[in-house]
């Protein structure tokens, strides 16, 4: 009986880990060597791409909480159209080559045929994602969108 319970708990634990791994599969994590290749491929296939650099890893902080909730909620409703990646060294180098001043936290939005956007700092308002998405999907840019649209940058990977 004890063995049965142990096995049941153990396999439940493994199943949870697998589910979590799958849940975060969209994020390859820093250090992924072929990130640039992946991004180029996504852009070539018409996907919009979000690349973020988040310095604050403290999951007990309200800043982290608001950032994670905003990105996850946006991605949950736009996953078919967006790929989300954590920036790595290679991506940072590309930004630097384009004379973009690297910040400890930033988010870059890219889509083929559309301007790229650079948000300096941590995105804490979901309206930033929505404003970019409205622009990328050809919707009229509202007054609200204009208030939240990040800076346009001359940065292309495709």
């Amino acid at each position: 009986m004890k063995n049965y319970l142990f096995n049941r708990r153990f396999f439940s634990g493994v199943a949870c880990l697998l589910l979590l791994t799958r849940a975060y599969a969209a994020d390859p994590g820093p250090g992924t060597a072929d990130l640039l290749t992946k991004i180029k491929s996504d852009l070539a296939h018409g996907q919009a791409v979000i690349v973020y650099r988040m310095q604050n890893k403290n999951r007990r902080s309200e800043q982290y909480a608001d950032w994670a909730a905003g990105l996850n909620q946006f991605y949950a409703t736009h996953r078919g159209h967006y790929r989300v990646y954590a920036a790595n060294q290679a991506f940072n180098s590309e930004l630097t080559k384009s004379k973009i001043k690297l910040k400890n936290s930033y988010t870059v939005f890219m889509k083929r045929g559309s301007p790229s956007y650079y948000y300096e700092g941590v995105i804490l308002e979901k309206a930033v994602y929505t404003a970019v998405d409205n622009h990328y999907s050809g919707k009229p840019v509202s007054t609200l969108d204009r208030a939240f649209l990040p800076e346009v940058i001359s940065f292309k990977l495709d």
Binding site: A26, V122, L144
Partner: protein
């Protein structure tokens, strides 16, 4: 004799010592009572482990702090009257209250309330606001802990004085809901999980006073006055945090305290179990 962690019906350990005769009130009886009042969902195995202890501590917390209970699926006001120690042990006074709750068919619940923006002159829901709470929450309403509801009243009053509109992006957040389809790990602790925080923009004419505005120091003077008024009223502004968070205001409960743990359990259960939520007029 106090039932306590480590007690075990099967091993005949009660009150921390081995006994020949089983007490009238066993660990399994305790688990059964805690289950019936909605605080224990683990197996009724007669083993007083950490889950039984946590459930018992939350019950003791409820005796001191609960605002509501449910009776036959209807919300009722609860007036805490017993100053029971929060020790996770089941002595005579805790047991007596367990029996009272059981006899009255009380079920524990959180202190979330619905607040309607229609009743607030200077607060609106942002177009990006994600409604949660299921069918019990009407359009134009948002959820906040009753203990934090005065913060909304203050926000509305200060915004009215300064001719601002507070546009709410998020209040209560569901713990774990972001995991499905998530790209980044959700926070482990946040005042949003207990309904004690609001993320908002203070709209001043055409200026939304965004995070970028605060970073670039281009926010309006009235946005600063609003923050000062909120600070003076005792609330925290995220712009003051070491990791700045300008949209964030909260009526903080120490996230390391048991008060926080109890509220996370009860308020998140209120949503996940579809428990009723009172509509509260905000003064």
């Amino acid at each position: 004799m106090e039932l306590q962690r480590g007690d075990n019906d099967n091993a005949a350990i009660w009150g921390g010592t081995s006994a020949v005769r089983a007490p009238e009130f066993t660990v399994m009886a305790l688990q059964s009572r805690l289950h019936s009042i909605g605080l224990y969902s683990d197996s009724l195995d007669g083993i007083f482990g950490p889950n039984t202890e946590k459930a018992l501590k939350i019950f003791q917390w409820c005796l001191k702090h609960a605002v509501y209970v449910m009776k036959e699926d209807i919300l009722a006001d609860y007036s805490p009257s017993v100053d029971t120690e929060l020790n996770g042990r089941c002595g005579s006074s805790t047991r007596s209250m367990l029996e009272t709750w059981f006899e009255n068919q009380y079920i524990s619940t959180g202190d979330l309330v619905r607040v309607s923006t229609a009743e607030l002159s200077n607060i609106q829901l942002s177009p990006m606001f994600s409604q949660i709470g299921g069918p019990v929450v009407d359009r134009g309403e948002f959820l906040i802990a009753r203990a934090a509801a005065p913060m909304i009243g203050h926000m509305n009053a200060f915004a009215s004085e300064l001719d601002l509109v507070v546009s709410i992006n998020q209040s209560l957040r569901i713990l774990g809901s972001e995991v499905r389809g998530a790209v980044v790990k959700p926070a482990t602790r946040s005042q949003h999980y207990i309904g004690h925080a609001v993320d908002c923009n203070r709209v001043d004419g055409d200026t939304w006073n965004t995070t970028s505005d605060f970073r670039n120091k281009t926010q309006t003077a009235n946005a600063d006055r609003f923050i000062l008024a909120m600070r003076n009223a005792g609330y925290r502004w995220g712009g003051d945090f070491s990791r700045t968070d300008p949209p964030h205001f909260d009526s903080q409960i120490d996230a390391q305290s048991f008060d926080y743990d109890a509220k996370v359990f009860l308020n998140q259960k209120q949503i996940s179990a579809g428990e009723p939520i009172e509509k509260l007029p905000v003064q």
